[in-house]
């Protein structure tokens, strides 16, 4: 076990852990945000640069600081390493710049986008970004590509995190989905309009941090904050069958994987569970999911686990229980 200090918090981690995972082990506000890194996808990370941190001491043996800010998702920890995340103004400033870059070509059509309310880019821009853009040029445009009747692709919203590409590579058996062209013109696409036929292809919706890949069966049906997430399960021969169903009254509007506090699904689910089982009789509903305190999805919903007791002696001015 080796010792790392992140923002003054000392943690012991296994050798070979990245700074991001060490911070996640400690938890709290010191965890750098991540747009492209996904712990369940091998090889992901290192693309979006939102997780930049400052290493003020490389290790115990060589305490010199690292010359530049490093991406915490792909930098391993060393014994005695000292890392600054939110306590370094340099990091905060750099992150603000990264958000500005990510938003350069983003259409900002959040009122239309189905991801709004659970979008990581929205959260990131809200927390770290500037309120105004300095970009004056026209934003990039793409021809509309239809990638099947289950998944909707909006290339203009893509931030090129490559998460869906890794998902397609690792979860599906054949490579039907990838990034074409280079630089500014690069775009997520399927090869020669190959429809994604794999049983687990729907998971690209869950891994997408923005609204580039969304559920076509949920398209414009409701906003995420008008539907209620519930834990549910069913016997599925292909996947674990443990999902989150989003209820609108008694109707299931959509089915997603169960996402943890970093927005990563606990287990990938199959397309049958995601797209075809939209009836309440298909599922055993366990109970409402816990929603983060700051999330808009929490709006107008009752909480679980809070019980309010009435005062025992009700009388004027009596407020003690």
């Amino acid at each position: 076990m080796i010792k790392v200090t992140i923002d003054g918090v000392e943690i012991e981690v296994e050798p070979g852990t990245t700074i991001l995972n060490a911070a996640r082990k400690a938890g709290g506000a010191i965890v750098p945000p991540a747009m492209c890194y996904y712990s369940k996808l091998k090889g992901s990370g290192g693309k979006c640069r939102t997780c930049l941190v400052k290493v003020t001491a490389g290790s115990e043996k060589d305490p010199r600081p690292m010359p530049k800010l490093v991406a915490s998702c792909s930098t391993g920890v060393q014994d005695g390493m000292v890392v600054q995340n939110i306590t370094s103004p340099e990091v905060v400033e750099a992150r603000k710049g990264v958000v500005e870059f990510l938003l350069l070509n983003h259409p900002l059509d959040c009122p239309i986008c189905d991801q709004a309310g659970e979008c990581h880019l929205q959260d990131l821009a809200f927390e770290h970004g500037a309120a105004k853009t300095r970009y004056e040029e026209e934003r990039r445009k793409f021809d509309k590509i239809d990638i099947g009747d289950k998944i909707q692709l909006h290339m203009t919203r893509c931030i090129l995190c490559y998460r869906c590409v890794y998902t397609a590579d690792q979860i599906t058996n054949e490579r039907v989905h990838g990034v074409l062209k280079r630089g500014d013109a690069s775009e997520i696409s399927t090869y020669i309009e190959n429809v994604i036929e794999n049983d687990f292809s729907g998971n690209v919706i869950d891994v997408c941090p923005v609204g580039a890949l969304t559920d076509k069966t949920f398209r414009f049906k409701s906003r995420v904050w008008f539907v209620k997430p519930m834990n549910a399960h069913r016997d599925c021969s292909k996947c674990c069958g443990k999902t989150a169903v989003w209820l609108h009254g008694e109707e299931i509007y959509r089915v997603t994987g169960r996402k943890d506090q970093y927005g990563e699904v606990e287990e990938f689910i199959c397309n049958e569970c995601r797209f075809d089982k939209k009836s309440k009789s298909d599922w055993v509903i366990e109970g409402p999911r816990e929603v983060e305190r700051w999330s808009v999805i929490r709006q107008n919903k009752y909480e679980i686990g809070t019980q309010v007791q009435a005062p025992k002696n009700i009388g004027y001015g009596n407020i003690t229980v």
């Binding site: 009122p111 239309i112 709004a116 409701s222 906003r223 904050w225 107008n300 009388g315």
Partner: protein, 176 residues
């Protein structure tokens, strides 16, 4: 029980004195209050002849605005509904089809938009939340009605009529 204000009096079943039984001092005290009010400035306004001046920030009936080309601004993003403290707004979104570009400004539009005017408290938070400048609270008064169901305003009553321009009585100019 300890009282927090002096507004309430503890009721007691005490025998009245002779002065109290006569009631004359109490009647006289009451008449004094009545006469005092005769000489005060009147608060009533003779309504149809005389109209009360509206505040500059008066918030009345809602309007769903159109842009200069007559397209509906609303894109059914749901921010007005989520910001509404009275939960008066509901909507159903739909996708714009080909050939409807002159009707709706964005890819998505509100196929159904309802405000329950009995629930609405005219706080103006919907106007504040709207990212598309679509919903406005005009200076128009909410008309009365005989039926509760008539207070649920749909798109037929809310959308700005085609061909109308924004004039001060129906829409406040947007000032930052």
């Amino acid at each position: 029980m300890q009282l927090l204000t002096n507004r309430s009096k503890v009721v007691v079943n005490k025998e009245m004195t002779l002065m109290e039984k006569l009631y004359i001092p109490a009647i006289f005290g009451g008449m004094m209050i009545t006469i005092k009010h005769l000489f005060r400035k009147k608060v009533t306004i003779q309504y149809p002849e005389q109209k009360r001046e509206f505040s500059k920030v008066y918030r009345g009936k809602h309007i769903l605005k159109r842009d200069e080309q007559g397209r509906e601004n609303c894109t059914a993003c749901g921010l007005c509904a989520v910001s509404c403290p009275a939960e008066a707004i509901t909507m159903v979104a739909a996708e714009r089809k080909k050939g409807e570009e002159h009707l709706y400004r964005e890819e998505k539009y509100a196929a159904n938009y309802e405000i329950n005017m009995l629930r609405c408290i005219f706080c103006g938070l919907c106007e504040e939340a709207c990212p598309k400048d679509a919903i406005y609270l005009t200076e128009e008064l909410m008309p009365a009605n005989y039926d509760r169901s008539n207070f649920i305003y749909g798109k037929d009553k809310l959308v700005q009529p085609l061909g109308t321009s924004a004039h001060p009585k129906t829409y406040k100019p947007y000032t930052k």
